[in-house]
Amino acid sequence: MMNKRIYLCEDSVESIFTGVYNAWEDRYPKEFVELSVNSYESNYELFSEYINVVTDFDKANRVAKTLELKFGNEVYTSIYQAALSNAKDKAQAVFKTINIGLKSKRPRQLMENLQDKHICRVFELSRAVFNERSHLLGFVRFKELNSQVLCSVIEPKNNVVMLIAPHFADRLPGEKWMIYDKGRNIAVIHEKGEQWGVIKSEKLNFEMLKQMSDSEKLFEAWWKGFCESISIKERKNIKLQKQNLPLRFQENMVEFH
């Protein structure tokens, strides 16, 4: 009986892909290899060997390229999205799915094998991430600051800022805007007519983010008034409202303040 070998990755796609690379490189029998995201692990198992993964962008890139080439864009997107999830078991599900895919005769149809529990897990995680992204495309609220910058605060469960940024870059090309993920301390910023980018939020000037423009209050008041009057009181159904718009989103939406 061999000891289990556990690769501890950081909570990022790059780190998980680096872990995948290292596990291949070490050629340890795959059934005894596990990938884990270390920030979640508190209980260490006896008789298991733990290896810390140091994120290496070059290795991660090579894994990403291989996946895209062999599996096609659709499968790659599912795997990538699953890796952005907040689930504890995501690294292992991604690792196993990749291994199955590399042996598969139909790697481009990999995600159709939903009877496999690892693939199904990747499918579920990826769907959850995508759903949260889709929700936020609608639920993001921008406030106009004195400096004309549009600023939005979100607290998503999964790491989705990168997934929602392209939509807003396409929609608001002539605006300066930022979307700040409060929980992860990262922000996407966009300059007028330029590409968007991700920054660590230590670089943000939080005092400036509090100074709203004059018209901001007016629009907020109009919007609140609209949300109020558009509702039909004979059909009032708060339960349905909550089901469609969970409270965790409402916290950062101006019409609920």
Binding site: Q115, L150, G193, W222, C227, I230, S231, I232, K233, E234
Partner: protein
């Protein structure tokens, strides 16, 4: 009628969104349009919900009337000319600024503009046209626009407007011509169907043109929809579903919306509805509508002259399956896609997943559960590898009782009012309380 000058935007917005709230269509779907890289706006085919109001309905568009003044006197409408309500009108610039400001803050997906009839249908639609023209050409708004077409307006105007908007809709108002005559004396069925036909013809014509000239402007790219009021007039569900089916088949509509009648005016011709708006009925109609559009059902299969109304306790698909038990159980690993679609608890996504996954390996109950099949409903109608999940009887009363035992039998959309309503319907066939003996049996069956 008092027309108030110098009203603030806030007041106008409150009056004119309040007046527009009975319009159902708040979807922003049907067209994928990338941004142009300079101006604000794009559009996503699936549509985006931006908020949900206290009634649980989605807010996607800034839904307003241009004016709530109206020369018509439709019995059911809050804005009818004989009502003494506060009247207001926007200016085109106010509509444009609200739309731009809201869109920029990501409050909305676009604009939904309807209107009461000012002076004449043509005059009103021209005002709408001026507003939309300004929004598109001066404010360069590239997001979603849905306009209501006012029946009776000139076809040339509808034509011009169609090239500026994404979706158009003409309200059918009521399911039959007779009802319309009774409750909306100024409107006629003929006048309503005419612009509907015109929009349909133009869309087809434009599609052909787009095939030849890719850069030709597109006419109503997200298609047209309509809505009708349910429960104000005595039509049966069968009549309503048949009307909807006809609209889909003969007018190529994208959507038909149903709006539970809300009692806003006192009028001898309107029903009293002490139990509130018929929300459960509306819900069943939407379920049936889905079956028509995505599940290959026909109106005649769901209802008939002798059975003209939906079962209150069961959704239309379960109801259909129970009346066609000879088709079940269906073998998950063999049945074709369309057969799977007809199984209660299997939707089109899970059916697609099953068809793909079973190419790799024979599927079991556990597998299809992971794929999204609702087993507690489906289990009476399917087998996996030749076996059913439990020893169940394939017998109408037995299955019905078990299905009714499921907690979710009253959908959340209507759960707050439905119990009151139920007594209003007299075709409840089943006693929702199972007898004790049967309950024990069903437990036994699940062991």
């Amino acid at each position: 009628m008092i027309i108030q000058e110098n009203m603030s935007v806030m007041e106008k917005l409150e009056i004119l969104s309040d007046a527009a709230k009975y319009d159902v269509a708040c979807t922003s779907s049907g067209v994928d349009r990338k941004g142009d890289g300079i101006h604000m706006g794009n559009s996503v085919a699936s549509g985006i919900c931006h908020s949900f109001s206290a009634d649980g309905r989605c807010i996607s568009l800034l839904k307003i009337l241009f004016t709530n003044e109206c020369i018509f006197d439709c019995k059911y409408c809050i804005n009818r000319s004989s009502n003494d309500v506060k009247r207001a009108s926007f200016t085109p610039d106010e509509v444009c600024e609200l739309t731009m400001g809201f869109y920029r803050r990501n409050y909305i997906e676009g604009l939904f503009l309807s209107s009461g009839i000012l002076e004449s249908p043509n005059f009103t639609l021209d005002l709408i046209y001026q507003t939309i023209f300004k929004l598109r050409t001066q404010y360069h708004f590239n997001g979603y626009i849905h306009v209501k077409v006012i029946p009776g307006a000139e076809s040339e105007l509808i034509n011009k407007l169609g090239f500026l908007v994404d979706r158009m809709s003409v309200n059918l108002e009521l399911p039959t011509a007779d009802s319309l005559k009774m409750l909306a004396p100024h409107k006629s069925r003929k006048n309503i169907l005419k612009p509907m036909r015109q929009i349909q013809t133009n869309i087809i014509h434009n599609k052909n043109e787009l095939m030849v000239y890719k850069k030709a402007p597109s006419f109503v790219p997200a298609g047209q929809s309509t809505q009708m009021i349910i429960g104000a007039t005595p039509e049966s569900d069968y009549q309503i579903v048949s009307v909807a089916e006809n609209l889909y088949n003969k007018f190529n509509l994208k959507r038909v919306f149903y709006s539970a009648f809300i009692h806003v005016n006192e009028d001898a011709l309107l029903p009293a509805l002490p139990g509130g708006p018929p929300l459960l009925r509306e819900h069943r109609l939407y379920q049936a509508d889905w079956l028509l559009r995505f599940y290959g059902f026909k109106a005649d299969e769901l209802l008939s002259e002798s059975r003209p109304n939906f079962n209150i306790m069961l959704d239309p698909k379960c109801d259909w399956a129970l009346r066609h038990l000879e088709n079940f159980p269906v073998e998950i690993n063999k049945a074709d896609y369309f057969t799977l679609l007809r199984v209660p608890g299997i939707g089109n996504k899970s059916a697609q997943r099953i068809v793909k996954a079973r190419l790799q390996a024979a599927l079991d109950f556990e597998d299809i559960k992971r794929m999204g099949v609702v087993l507690k409903r489906a289990l009476y109608f399917i087998s996996c590898k030749g076996r059913m999940m439990y020893r169940t009887k394939i017998e109408e009363d037995y299955i019905t009782r078990n299905l009714l035992n499921l907690k979710e039998r009253i959908p959340i959309e209507v759960s707050q009012t439905s119990f009151k309503q139920m007594s209003l319907f007299d075709d409840v066939r089943f006693n929702p309380q199972p007898e004790t003996l049967d309950h024990v049996q069903s437990l036994y069956g699940q062991m």
